[in-house]
């Protein structure tokens, strides 16, 4: 791409160098604007890539990609990978890796299914469909994930065994344990309230917020964005630090809120399946209009869970000492230790957090499937690591953001879902995703060399 530009320019009579200068001077106002906006250019590049992917798929598929239905499904499919990718960012930032997330997910998901479908109803004799079953399942699952991840972290941090080895062992051990105690059995069905966590429908109950709660959620997020912008500006003013120009502040707020409102709008444009809508209408005595009843689905619960996880992990990563230490360790482990940071404890906690997030994803995946199978989460580690890396997390440590990883997960899932729409077979999908992964990291490395 870059090579063809100078040849065209020289073909037009002008030397390549003057072309380059023209381009850079033409871009000067753009870079100036970017600087005023104080937005990460890498993040902006990823958003641009995502838009290109979406529009291309939409054109090639004849308008089937950018539909409310497809985007809603895309959001649900991205959620479970994105949830784990937020934790993987912190692991990779601190110069470690967790290969065991897929196996942990399988093991935790199966255990959580056992809790609600076997242990509480049968072993404790309390019966199915207890209203509290989903909460207990979730709490025990997350705690178990914390312990399982923490154990691996303990071996990495205090045992001095490289994380690659520990979690490679974990990949085998957790899956093996799962096979042993599952004996090939699938646990199904699950508690119906628990199933809501997956975003599916049971009867007329839907695993999504519905129309008005979705709008309220959107409004709350927008309020949060505006509030954060104002608070940050006030704080900077108080200390006399430079602030963004007012127009930039407004632009950032408008664009961010626009994205939030647009997302809610798309989710509310995806109607419930006709059969569900009909049943709902019957139950509530609504007369269905001739064209069929349009009941908005709203933002899916897996997406709501992902938003909560993103908020929590971003807070840990950027507003707490824990996160600061994770980044410091990734930047220079010796310096972190000499600064008095408890490096081992911090590393152990990143793995424990990863385990908890694997449990949350396990809940979403088993709920969506309405079953726990022994193959649950197989190869998820590859998707999660890819999402983090495509999202700008560097294997040399110290660099990576939680929102970037979320975007990375959406980019990956967009590629897969678009190729499914185009009836691309699964091996070819793998080839494309593999190439994109390498290309993304390669381009990033090239870009960074240019800058420095």
């Amino acid at each position: 791409m870059g090579a063809s530009v100078p040849s065209e320019a020289s073909g037009a009579g002008g030397p390549a160098r003057s072309f380059a200068t023209t381009v850079s001077s033409a871009l000067a106002p753009v870079t100036g604007v970017l600087r005023s906006l104080e937005i990460d250019t890498r993040m902006l590049g990823m958003i641009a890539a995502l838009i290109v992917i979406w529009i291309s798929f939409n054109i090639v598929s004849g308008g089937n990609f950018l539909t409310a239905r497809n985007l809603w499904n895309l959001s649900v499919q991205s959620a479970s990978i994105a949830i784990m990718a937020t934790g993987m960012v912190l692991i990779i930032v601190s110069r470690n890796i967790d290969l065991s997330v897929g196996s942990m997910l399988g093991f935790l998901g199966y255990t959580m299914a056992m809790i609600q479908a076997v242990w509480i109803p049968k072993n404790l004799g309390l019966g199915f469909e207890q209203p509290y079953a989903w909460v207990i399942t979730l709490v025990i699952g997350i705690a178990l994930g914390f312990a399982v991840g923490g154990l691996q972290g303990f071996i990495v941090a205090f045992g001095g065994v490289p994380s690659f080895i520990v979690t490679l062992g974990g990949l085998l051990v957790w899956r093996g344990l799962l096979f042993r105690y599952a004996q090939g059995q699938t646990i199904a069905p699950l508690d119906t309230t628990f199933q809501m966590l997956g975003g599916g429908t049971v009867g007329t109950r839907v695993g999504a917020l519905g129309e008005w709660p979705s709008w309220i959620l959107g409004a709350l997020i927008c309020l949060g964005i505006v509030g954060t912008l104002i608070a940050s500006r006030r704080r900077k003013r108080r200390y006399g630090f430079p602030v963004r120009p007012m127009w930039a502040e407004v632009l950032v707020g408008v664009v961010a809120c626009g994205v939030v409102i647009g997302t809610v709008w798309v989710a509310n444009n995806y109607p419930l399946p006709p059969a569900v809508a009909e049943q709902y209408a019957q139950e509530h005595g609504i007369q269905a209009p001739p064209g069929g009843l349009f009941i908005p689905t709203g933002v899916a619960f897996p997406v709501v869970i992902m938003l909560i996880v993103t908020l929590v992990v971003t807070f840990l990563a950027t507003r707490r000492r824990f996160g600061r230490y994770v980044y410091a360790i990734g930047g220079n482990p010796d310096a972190a230790a000499l600064a008095g940071i408890n490096v081992r404890r911090t590393i152990m906690l990143t793995f424990a957090l990863m385990g908890s997030l694997a449990a949350v994803s396990a809940a979403v995946q088993t709920a969506r499937l309405n079953a726990a199978v022994t193959s649950l989460g197989t190869q998820n580690e590859l998707d999660v690591i890819s999402a983090a890396v495509i999202g700008g997390t560097s294997f040399s440590g110290g660099i990576g953001t939680v929102p970037g990883a979320i975007l990375g997960a959406v980019v990956m899932q967009s590629l897969r879902s678009g190729m499914v729409l185009l009836l691309v077979d699964s091996p070819t999908q793998d080839i494309v995703v593999g190439i994109v992964l390498v290309a993304a990291v390669g381009l990033d490395a090239l870009f960074r060399r240019r800058v420095s």
């Binding site: 200390y239 707490r320 410091a328 220079n332 010796d334 008095g340």
Partner: protein, 270 residues
């Protein structure tokens, strides 16, 4: 061991040393990096620690900064024995270190590095604005031209990085300071700045161990000079009692000038 007298203003031999290292031993496997070294440091005094490569200067200083606790020996602060098991202990006791490598987290910005491990918090979250404000003050004192408070320190110049490392050491009201090759990476102007800073800190009553290869730096700044050779202390001398050549002789041959033979002296001077 000699009885030290010092001509630093206001310092009398009877006073209790700020820091005493007594009979410190450190071994790495079979290598005795530091073998029975005793040193002391008075408030408002600079003690130069010199020696060739592998003489054990840095290892000795790392026992005081908590980076590598000694295998045996005692550390006293104001006459009281203290346990320094890790860098946090040392900092709590008011012993700050500027490492030769600077020990900066390259991916973090200057305020984050200054407060690394000692972050300011408000409502259980990091108070980045307060840290930046404080970092601007302390770094501004060292280098008024320093502007890049938001960029990762990786992208700063050698002098600016040094300023960040020094700011981190002096911001927390240190009583004793260890400076390991503080000017090795600096140009002449920046070196002069660091020299001014050392004199200023000295006048504030801070004791400084200055580890350096540069014998002229050491003669410029210190009251006493401790020479190390193969993990042992050759001798601690008053700067005014010796010449640079004599100190060089001690560094190279590992013997006090009084014990040098005529032949050794001749060889030393070519």
């Amino acid at each position: 061991m000699l009885i030290h007298t010092t001509d630093a203003p206001g310092v009398t031999p009877q006073r209790v040393p700020l820091v005493e290292l007594r009979n410190i031993h450190v071994a790495f496997g079979g290598v005795r990096a530091v073998a029975g070294v005793t040193l002391d440091l008075y408030p408002g005094e600079v003690v130069g620690v010199v020696g060739g490569n592998g003489a054990g200067k840095t290892t000795l200083m790392r026992t005081l900064s908590g980076a590598r606790p000694p295998d045996s020996g005692q550390i006293l602060l104001n006459g009281q024995p203290v346990m320094i098991g890790n860098p946090r202990d040392a900092k709590t006791l008011g012993i700050e270190t500027i490492y030769q490598t600077l020990a900066l987290a390259d991916n973090l910005d200057a305020p984050a590095n200054v407060f690394l491990g000692r972050e300011l918090e408000a409502a259980a979250t990091l108070d980045d604005s307060a840290m930046e404000s404080a970092a601007r003050k302390v770094i501004g004192r060292l280098n008024p031209n320093f502007k890049n408070f938001k960029t990762p320190v990786l992208r700063l110049s050698g002098g600016q990085r040094q300023a960040v490392a020094i700011a981190r050491a002096i911001h927390f009201n240190a009583r004793a300071l260890i400076m390991d090759e503080p000017t090795a990476a600096l140009g002449p102007a920046e070196t002069a700045q660091v020299h001014d800073l050392i004199r200023q800190l000295k006048s504030e009553g801070i004791g400084i161990f200055l580890v350096s290869h540069d014998i002229h730096d050491v003669f410029d700044l210190s009251e006493r000079i401790s020479v190390m050779y193969h993990g042992k202390l050759v001798e601690t001398v008053n700067k005014n009692d010796v010449t640079t050549d004599e100190v060089l002789g001690m560094i190279i041959l590992g013997k006090p000038p009084t014990k040098l033979t005529r032949q050794e002296l001749a060889e030393l001077h070519g």
